[in-house]
Amino acid sequence: MMMTRSRLAGFVPPLISLLLAAAVSAVVILALGEDPLNIGRVMFSGSLGSLRSIANTLEEATPLIFTGLCVAVAMKCGLFNIGGEGQLVVGAFAAAWVGVKLTGLDPVSHVVICIAVAGMAGAMWALIAGVLKARFGAHEVINTIMLNYVAFIVTNYLVNLAYFKKPGQIPQTEDVAGTALLPRLDFIYTYTRLNLGFILAVLAVIVVFLILERSKLGFEIRSVGLNPLASRASGISVVSNTIIAMAIGGFLAGLGGAERVLGVHKHFISPFPFGYGFAGIAVALLGRNKPFGVLLAAIFFGALASGGAQVDMETRVPRELVTVIQAIVIIFVACEYLVTKMGIRIRGVATSE
């Protein structure tokens, strides 16, 4: 009884935030001299109104699921991993490398190898910050931010090497071998870029859920995240769980990079499209760091993106407005999050006497 009630109640605050964000967005649209209802209608049809739009929404959502999970896993361990961006880029480059250079494999093994290598690359990248934090106490926020820059610069350097670079002006690799491509889910809509990577993302959600909520490892990660001192006193290693949680997050972000390369762009290009990693933070926040919450939140952000594209095409409202709406959502969600956190604190202090 108590469980189900609190579980349902958990949905209410994010919903209220979303409604408030919608209201504020409507005001902004009005101020621009446009009709919010009309914009809303276009947003809806562009994001969920047809099979084509739904496919677009899910395609936009796919990398966000991975980066959202990346942030959420670290957060469960009490870590703020802002490095999804860099971990995704490193994964993308690794996927392109193995996708281009390894040839003569059957499609299944090639895809599996590419994805595994991309995940490992992302994990290694995150591990740097994890080890620095666990061993030397260097703050992971700073480290992951810095490593984002390093990832962009290093991959830019590598892609410009003759070994990787496709002849021509643009710093990009050759397209990956056909065997390395993630098949498009074109039975939904012929020209979609939605691919098997989305199914992979949903599987990742389930696996992360099982790890966090059902496994020994997840128990330790959550315990360390909630109370490191009590965890240590119970013989749970803060050091190794910190490192593992960062690595799992990096692995997931790396998979996101592989999905972009193997399923959408077919090659690595520098600078790699960015923003997925940072959007992952908002996704995790809106999804309350719960795997299925992350899935829903990523689809929501995907819908904003695909709906925004439609708004751009059909109305005089600039596409940037969608970015503004996203920002408004994030602000409200963050406020709500802070308020509930602080609410608990205030009550906690009051009753501690």
């Binding site: 108590m2 496994s215 965890s231």
Partner: protein
Amino acid sequence: MDYVVRMKDITKRFPRVVANDRVNLNIKEGEIHALVGENGAGKSTLMNVLYGLTRPDGGEVCVRGDVLPASTGFLGLDYGIGMIHQHFMLIGQFTALENIILGAEPRLGPMLDMRKARDRVQNLMDEYGIEVDLDRRIDALSVGEEQRVEILRVLYRDAHIIIMDEPTAVLTPQETRSLFSTLKMLTQSGRTVVFITHKLEEVMAMADTVTVMRAGSMIGTMPISETDVAGLAEMMVGRRIEDMPERDADITYEHILKIEDVSLRSAKGQQLLTGISLEVHAGEIFGICGVDGNGQDELFEVLIGLRRPTQGRVIFLERDITHDPTSRRLKAGMAHIPPDRIRMGLVGDFTVRENLILGRHTDGRFSGRVFLKARAVAESADSLVRDFEIEPPVPEMQAGLLSGGNQQKVIAARELSRDPELLIASQPTRGLDIGAARMIHDLIVRQADSGQSVFLISADLSEVMKLADRIGVMYRGAIVGVVERTEATEENLGLMMAGAKA
């Protein structure tokens, strides 16, 4: 009869509880009035109402016949009431004198008249035999001295009614005695003292009148001559508390734990522990007493493996564990109840069920290679919640929402279900009410009676004297002496707690 304070039908509700339910309290001029009750009975709330810090939802407060204004905030000081809270409210960087006069500084034009202030404070100190070094910073004072600063602070403000919330919780027996003689002098000069406690022996020794509260209600007020410790305990708890069963100690000379010359220095070079050596035998309860902050917490952390000693060895079951991580110590048969249950003993946001397997989750009973065995975890939690009478008996409840006593039961249930060779318990009953404390005591005794050992660290002298077979006293990071229970008296332990060698 003339009452200096009359509180009538005081009611105060908090979101989840009625802290005071139509409480009546009358206090006579010049008496020492003890207010007793279990944790959460509403004592602090009632005194906060009297002091004007908390506004009641109903009822009225009269001081010397004046009805205090209920609507607007007032401070008790305007009516000659001073309060010394459970947690002192002094500014660490200021000197004792500055803290005493803060907010009531005598002025000489725009300047502070420090000389006048010092004279007044000195007079008060002489009059009541209170000793404080006025020019030391609060940071550098002991708890007992801080308390004296607090007393001077309210006297300086001409308080005639002095409320003290659990003043003796943090004092050594000697400090307690000197506090009581100060309080006696205060009443002799016509002032009135109300003090909150749950140590009933103190009530019988000190008070003229005692009032018992339970669960927000007034149970009764009576002169001390008409009651005794057992009677008060029964009124506080609402049922009879049986005497502890006699220990049936069967101590062997086989040592379970051996500490050899252990020292610990902090990263900043501060000496926290100095040359500690002792042995705990099978079937023995070894008690460590001492005023809080004399190295007990550090010793605890060294024993459970959260800190490495800078020197010395720890031998457990014939094996050197000095460098073993906590997990290995627990596997080897150690269990512990930490001094700070909320920070160290529990994950407050975890459910009771999750907390009950914390540190035991790697046990084959509760997990396979990867996954936890949900069924086994739930069954074990259900039976522990039942056996240890955890209230409310809801394993899905967040542990942080339980009362202190029930949180402690969760920890005790988890640790004792390991069936440990050695239980290291630090301040296991701090802040617990009589019922819960009694249960923890029984568990400790049962652990020893079954031939296993207990290392009990406690600032509560009576607890250590009641339970331990041998008692070591800690002072400034060292053991100043070890005495057999039969030789231990409050007097000799108290002296050692203040640093005198055995």
